[in-house]
């Protein structure tokens, strides 16, 4: 083996200090394979070395939490002996370099995280952030990412139920692809990654190992320069058919008692999965690399340990479990190989051609990874813009039409229709509502699932924006009638070595913590994606929140569609007319400025608890959270979904009319009801602000008797943008 030079250390993304630490751990110079392992294990992607000390401050517990962060995914109790297992994870860097495969393997990875723990995946969501529509790369990235997500999820047969898709020039050089999967498992049969026990077989199953994705984790832990295309070979290639077989084979074997521990081979492949299992189980592992199923001959130990070939799992089996496991994997025509055994040495030993070629202590690498308290500075405050300082439109309904057709609010039907939304025959509500609703198979219950973040708020104020993201997720679950259970957080930021970016990370974590504590909404899993910057320009802090709630009776789930004419439209929550950082300000007044709307978490909780109870009581026929674009956009979305219009009046004592109509004050809902009197009375008793603002009916939206626009006209504006954009020559 050649001696390790400073260049080699640098190319492996290790700092001089980190290399010195590696030397101290080994007591000698590493060989190339060992250097590669250090590099992968200590990459930001695998070690969370910049974020760990902050992530530890998040609330992770509640009586219904079975397993919080630290495993492949988070687990919550949903009753009847069942558990819901979910996580969101980013695949940003690979999706920018190779959008189809980057997004596809992102979906594959998050599906495996969920079924590794014993759950059958039941739904996926995706939060997508693209650059400006006019940027020359954007359309190609949208087409590739959407096709990749669909191509993978559709084949595996897990419904993809929407999520988010927004556009902003700040993502021109770094798009975000955050994929979330939710699964359901028997609460008594959840599988973890700790390889407890000595002398047990370490088994490799799934696809063969090839030379793809080598150093993907290291790539995802560095910024882009303009030569990012040259990194295409570090992107993995997905095989959803093999994933489907692996899913079925794993679930079949999990029904037996053969498995002690199981871990998917994701980032840093065999390296990370081996260390994870050994470290958590307090054991050592010896691997015979000659037994690893290989796609091509002559792969080096370095390549085998760092390949990120997809659709692979590592398992530790009980004594005697091998025959059963082999039978199952052979039935599904997947590779099955005993590649090693657990030991009591606390060391990872790799052999090839009969000779030891690497030997590393497990705990120091996995547990004593570098952890940084990076310097950070809080973001400078942004001034609040008073409503009167924002110009009013000539006609509010023309402004509405423009908003409904702007890229962020325009219908994303073009995207959803490429996703199988109805496979598994449990989809109660697909994309387009506040939250997706999926029946828990074989029960009367349903899970509500949402993904939320408003990057323009976070760009103005990371902490307030993160509070808002959690609050909006909680509100979206509430709006379909669900009891919010827990979240998964996917923090996307720039280079943490810059104090202002680190300040954003701290702000995001503090905001999430605040909101989770106030709303009793713990974090059970998460992911951090750093270095989302190109040539020194970072993305806005984007803390995407994936959230899950429970509906005891799926038939009682509420939708946003108006159901009947002549019902009262009730506005719940306080409207101050906050236009700072709003969509109206950006799209109509052409300014991106001002502090985001503040979130009053106590009011959020009161208002939401009230709405949920009214839905459960059957008094609310349609419900929608008021978010992007404000009240008038929310009203229009309810009208479009139900194909029923409405007439509303701006109250006398309201803020300026355009601020009342388009302000993005938080903690608000619109609801329709046939029994406004009882709803208002209940609201008074619960100290929840509520008022009737109008009536449903007709084929138009009318505001203040003066302005009107037909639903058909609004629909055309809403549906037109995306297909036209994607098919333009």
């Amino acid at each position: 083996m050649s001696a390790i030079t400073p260049e080699m250390v640098r190319e492996h993304g290790l700092s001089a200090d980190e290399y010195a630490r590696a030397l101290a751990i080994l007591g000698r110079e590493p060989n190339l394979t060992e250097l590669g392992i250090f590099s992968a294990m200590w990459s930001e992607h695998c070690s969370y070395k910049s974020s760990k000390r902050w992530l530890r401050t998040l609330p992770t517990e509640a009586p219904w939490v079975i397993c919080g962060p630290g495993e492949n995914a988070g687990v919550v109790d949903i009753g009847e002996g069942l558990a819901c297992i979910f996580k969101m994870e980013s695949h940003n860097h690979p999706s920018f370099i190779e959008p189809y495969q980057g997004a596809a393997t992102g979906v594959g990875g998050i599906l495996r995280d969920v079924f590794t723990m014993g759950a059958r995946p039941v739904a996926s969501l995706n939060a997508l952030r693209f650059g400006a529509p006019a940027h020359p790369k954007t359309r190609h990235l949208v087409a590739g990412v959407v096709a990749g997500i669909g191509g993978y999820g559709n084949c595996v047969g897990v419904p993809t139920l929407g999520g988010e898709c927004t556009f902003h020039a700040a993502y021109d050089g770094n798009i975000l692809v955050n994929a979330m999967t939710v699964g359901v498992a028997d609460a008594a049969r959840i599988f973890y990654s700790a390889a407890a026990g000595v002398g047990l077989s370490v088994v490799y199953v799934g696809s063969k190992t090839g030379r793809d994705g080598i150093h993907g984790a290291t790539m995802a832990s560095a910024e882009f320069a303009s030569d990012s295309e040259a990194k295409r070979p570090t992107v993995q290639v997905g095989d959803p058919f093999t994933e489907k077989l692996l899913l079925e084979a794993c679930l079949e074997l999990m029904a037996t008692d053969a498995i002690v521990a199981i871990q998917d081979m994701g980032a840093a492949g065999l390296t990370c999965s081996t260390f994870e299992m050994a470290s958590k189980g307090g054991v050592g592992i010896e691997l015979d690399l000659d037994r690893v199923p290989m796609r091509e001959d002559g792969m080096s130990a370095y390549e085998l340990m760092l390949s990120e070939s997809q659709e692979r799992m590592l398992m530790v089996l009980r004594p005697g479990g091998e025959a059963e496991a082999r039978r199952v994997f052979e039935k599904w025509e997947l590779d099955f190989a005993v590649i090693g055994r657990t030991t009591d040495t606390g060391r990872l030993v790799l052999r090839q051609n009969g000779t030891p070629i690497a030997e590393l202590p497990v705990d120091p690498l996995a547990e004593a990874a570098p952890e940084y308290d990076r310097p950070w500075i809080p973001a400078p405050g942004v001034a609040v813009i008073p409503p009167a300082a924002v110009p009013a439109p000539d006609d509010p309904l023309q402004a509405l039409e423009r908003l409904l057709g702007c890229p962020d609010l325009a219908s994303k039907r073009w995207i959803w229709e490429q996703y199988d939304q109805t496979v598994m025959a449990d989809t109660v509500q697909g994309p387009g509502g506040d939250a997706a609703v999926v029946r828990v198979h074989g029960t009367a219950k349903a899970l509500a699932i949402t993904s939320d973040c408003t990057p323009r708020y976070c760009a103005a104020d990371a902490r307030e924006g993160a509070r808002q993201a959690v609050a909006e997720a909680w509100r979206n679950l509430t709006a379909v009638g669900a009891k919010p259970l827990a979240i998964t957080d996917n923090l996307n930021l720039g280079n943490p070595e810059r104090p202002e970016i680190m300040g954003q990370l701290v702000g995001c974590v503090e905001g999430i913590r605040d909101a989770c504590l106030a709303l009793d909404f713990p974090v059970v899993s998460g992911n951090v994606s750093l270095y989302n910057e190109t040539d020194g320009a970072a993305i806005p802090p984007t803390p995407t929140i994936g959230a899950v709630g429970l509906i005891e009776d799926a038939t009682g789930a509420c939708t946003l569609a108006f159901k009947a004419a002549g019902e009262a439209v009730v506005l719940i929550g306080t409207t101050a007319g906050h236009l700072g950082a709003s969509l109206y300000l950006r799209e109509i007044a052409s300014a991106e400025d001002g502090a985001p709307p503040p979130v009053d978490l106590a009011a959020e909780k009161r208002n939401g608890d009230f709405v949920r109870a009214e839905i459960a009581a059957g008094r609310i026929s349609a419900c929608h959270d008021v978010s992007d674009g404000g009240l008038l956009v929310a009203l229009a979305e309810m009208a479009l979904a139900g194909d029923i219009g409405a007439e509303i009046a701006v109250p006398e004592d309201a803020p300026p009319a355009h601020a009342w109509l388009f302000g993005e004050d938080q903690g608000r809902y619109l609801a329709s009801t046939a029994d406004a009197e009882t709803v208002l009375e209940g609201a008074r008793a619960a100290r929840v602000p509520a008022m009737v603002i109008g009536l449903t009916g007709g084929g138009r939206l009318t505001v203040g008797g003066r302005h009107a626009i037909s639903i058909a006209h609004l629909r055309a504006a809403h549906e037109d943008w995306m297909p036209r954009y994607m098919s333009a020559p």
């Binding site: 559709n154 084949c155 058919f241 229709e417 496979v423 598994m424 025959a425 449990d426 029946r439 799926a554």
Partner: protein, 230 residues
């Protein structure tokens, strides 16, 4: 009604059809792994949707050579009803049990939506509970659903009343918007000459439960149960 559902590697609607059949028939179907070379005595054989063998070669092409499919074909030729949904329809055309072929969607993208269909014939075991010309809705979800056959084949399908379902709009009419994938003659489902084999791209099993947004698919299974009990 005793039914068998064939499970290929990559089938992903096998559980959905299992649930729909159990609901309609009161008894669960037998799930048959593709490697079997024999089938139990059954009244109905279903080839479910999914991506058999990943659809990597050509949709349904590999599955058509599965060990069990030879037996399915033999039963079909003896008159046992066979239903192929989505990927199952593709397998049926690949085996030659149904004419024509399902090509890539005209827009070259996967399409999933609730699609209106017109019932073109009620003269079959599968469609007897519908009204002639009835406009129904069912989910579609496919990448390769564009039905193609030559003019002679299309003529005989029409002349022999073998077109079971056509894509249409909410009023039952044709037009460019009514055809989600570019199928010739807006064909969504066809019967074989003996009328015991139906292949269709839409998913009746996904609209057999009011909670999921519709029950128009349930009539197909209930119709089969009645017809096969008679």
């Amino acid at each position: 009604m005793r039914a068998a559902v064939i499970v290929f590697p990559g089938s992903n609607c096998d559980r959905d059809i299992q649930v729909a059949l159990r609901r309609a028939a009161g008894a669960p179907p037998v799930m048959v792994w593709h490697k079997e070379t024999s089938l139990p005595a059954v009244d109905l054989i279903v080839l479910p949707g999914g991506f058999s063998y990943g659809d990597y070669l050509r949709c349904g092409a590999m599955a058509a050579h599965s060990p069990v499919v030879a037996e399915v074909a033999a039963r079909a030729r003896k008159g046992v009803p066979v239903l192929g949904i989505c990927n199952g329809f593709q397998v049926l055309t690949e085996t030659g049990l149904l004419p024509g072929v399902l090509m890539r969607n005209a827009q070259l993208r996967f399409v999933c939506r609730t699609q209106h269909l017109s019932v073109e014939t009620t003269q079959s075991l599968f469609t007897g509970l519908y009204r002639p010309g009835e406009v129904i809705a069912m989910p579609i979800a496919h990448m390769d659903g564009s039905y193609f056959a030559d003019d002679d084949t299309l003529r005989s399908l029409r002349d022999e009343d073998r077109i079971a379902f056509r894509y249409c709009d909410a009023r039952g009419e044709g037009g460019a918007d009514a055809n989600p994938n570019g199928s010739r003659d807006r064909i969504a489902g066809i019967l074989n000459g003996r009328r015991n084999v139906l292949g269709l791209m839409p998913h009746p099993e996904r609209h057999a439960d009011a909670l999921l947004g519709g029950v128009d698919g349930a009539a197909l299974f209930e119709g089969l149960v009645r017809a096969l009990a008679a």
